[in-house]
Amino acid sequence: MQRIAALAHLELTADEQVLFTRQLADILAYAQQVQAIDTSDVPATAHVHAAQQTERSDDPRESLSTSDALGNAPDTAPDAGLFRVPRVIGG
């Protein structure tokens, strides 16, 4: 549970850890039934229209202005057009 929380950048309370351990175990036990299906030679579907052409020519287009892009940020360096974050400590 702690390893997964760390991967997901979530800090769970002690109560949440207990609750989720039980609930996730129940849900995964239920989801386990997909193991029983024979899926040899069955391709995976990641996208329902996989054959769709999705590329366009590499031409720049209008996007958000810098001020719009920074407009909702909690902390910015607006003149530099940057978002400001706490320093990275200990990697």
Partner: protein, 493 residues
């Protein structure tokens, strides 16, 4: 006016019999009067709506041609970006987020003349089947205030049912338009995946999400779909498939329509009252000339586990962006906060329990050692389900199921058991996994099966699913059913 369809409202405004401002005022007054007892709206944008309505009246006076939704008041689910209008996804993590751009779906509705009166409450990040997961309080079912309106588009469905708006936009990832539509006695359409651009929809599961209309009539749903549909360069998953005239498909004729009935799949776990309403609805269509065909969907029972593996995996990726850096909530910094701690605390403070649960599940499913057993397997189940439906659509035109296994359940009834809540989606998730269009249309009222309150009339819905891009058949069948019944004309007290 409050009981009129979007079509009628639009036609009367276009003809000059009533002004867009008067229509807007009437619905805003209605919202003010009933919303406190429903909590269907996270935000009511009265000034902006009236300004829009005034602009529309000016345009009409100048002879500008009338858009297909001219002056129609609409509610927009709060996971759709409206430029300049607070959009929260019903989460604390976006409590003060004001989008700098419109979702394409929103832009197209406004270009057609629709007037946005507010943002509809929903389950947080569209994760839920009861609208009890909103950070801004639950939405109540207008038909029974002690019951849920369904979710995640609970606010949109309740708003239409209570006549706060004739039309609303919702989103559907596992049933989030159709199930609340069924619980609220209104129409809800999930278009084919790719039919409507997802640009500006706060993403939950990118291979499953679709935006669609909620209305009281199928005819209005067709009207809205025409405004919404079509490719968008801003959404690479939107389809170049040509957009037919959906309204022209509503002939009222279902002679020879082949309706697939998956008897084994709907045999278990369905309330008797829901089954009765479903059987009667099928009979109504049969007497109108449709042909009922027994079909089998052998892998349908695996749809729920496959869905919760795929959807949570995609959600864990999509919700990684809410990290306190570019928008949304950031945890308070005492000056000693490191970046990693900032991420964790921000997300812990900002996300509700269900969202965290799904992120955890999705992260687990994608993690090393479990990817093949869970995520990859689920994606293979999607292929098997598609093959089931391909075989079925060889001999049928639409597949009919009850939209939900039960009538609307009580607030708090399933909140302690997430798995029980997930099972409510048993009939809706397949359409998302395979990308098929599906509609829920009201098909009756039932009393609570536990006999608790025989005076309660609870709506139930009939779901019709069609081939990829065959909204015309789905809409036509649902519209024909509405012409033969009057469930959709009834209003909550």
């Amino acid at each position: 006016m409050l009981n009129s369809s979007a079509r009628v409202i639009r036609d009367e405004i276009a003809a000059g019999s009533i002004s867009a401002v008067d229509v807007c005022r009437a619905f805003l007054e209605r919202i003010e009067s009933v919303n406190p007892s429903l909590n269907a709206f996270n935000l009511i944008a009265a000034d902006r709506a009236l300004a829009r309505a005034e602009e529309i009246d000016r345009q009409r006076a100048q002879g500008v041609s009338a858009g297909p939704l001219m002056g129609v008041p609409i509610a927009v689910k709060d996971n759709l970006c409206v430029r300049g209008m607070r959009t929260t996804a019903s989460s604390r993590i976006l409590e003060r987020f004001v989008p700098p751009y419109d979702a394409t779906a929103v832009r197209r509705m406004e270009a057609a003349g629709a007037v946005i009166v507010g943002k509809a409450n929903c389950d947080e990040f569209a994760m839920g089947s009861s609208n009890e997961n909103s950070a801004y309080g639950p939405v109540l079912n207008p038909w029974a205030r002690d019951r849920t309106p369904g979710g995640s588009s609970g606010g949109s469905a309740a708003a239409v049912a209570a006549r706060c708006v004739p039309l609303a936009l919702g989103s559907d990832t596992g049933g989030s338009i159709r199930q609340p539509a069924a619980f609220c006695g209104v129409v809800g359409l999930k278009p084919t995946y790719g039919r409507v651009s997802r640009y500006g929809l706060l993403a939950f599961a990118s291979s499953l999400d679709q935006i669609g209309p909620i209305s009281s009539t199928v005819s209005d749903a067709a009207l809205a779909l025409s405004a919404l549909a079509g490719p968008d360069p801003a959404d690479a998953t939107s389809s170049p498939q040509p957009v037919p005239d959906f309204s022209a498909a509503l002939t009222g004729d279902v002679t020879g329509l082949r309706i697939g009935v998956p008897r084994a799949f709907v045999a278990d776990g369905v309330d008797n009252s829901v089954r009765r309403a479903y059987d009667e609805a099928l009979d109504t269509l049969r007497r109108a000339g449709a042909k009922l065909v027994d079909i089998d969907l052998p892998h349908a029972k695996y749809a729920i586990p496959a869905y919760y593996l795929v959807a949570t995996a995609e959600a864990s990726s999509n919700l990684a962006r809410y990290d306190g850096v570019r928008y949304g909530h950031r945890t308070a910094d005492d000056g000693h906060l490191g970046l990693q701690d900032m991420y964790r605390r921000t997300r812990d403070e900002g996300f509700g329990t269900e969202v965290k649960r799904r992120i955890m599940l999705g992260t687990y499913v994608l993690s090393a050692g479990y990817y093949d057993a869970f995520y990859l397997k689920a994606q293979q189940v999607r292929t098997l389900l598609r093959q089931d439906y391909d075989a079925v659509f060889d001999k049928t035109d639409v597949v009919a199921m009850p939209t939900t296994p039960t009538p609307p359940f009580r607030l708090g009834e399933k909140t302690d058991d997430p798995l029980q809540m997930y099972l409510a989606d048993v009939f809706t998730v397949s359409a998302n996994l395979v990308g098929l269009p599906a509609i829920s249309v009201p098909c009756g009222f039932v009393t609570p099966s536990d006999g608790s309150d025989p005076s309660q009339r609870l709506p139930v819905g009939l779901q019709l699913t069609g081939r990829l891009f065959d909204e015309p058949s789905v809409l036509n069948a649902a519209d024909a059913y509405q012409r033969l019944t009057d469930w959709h004309t009834q209003r909550p007290a």
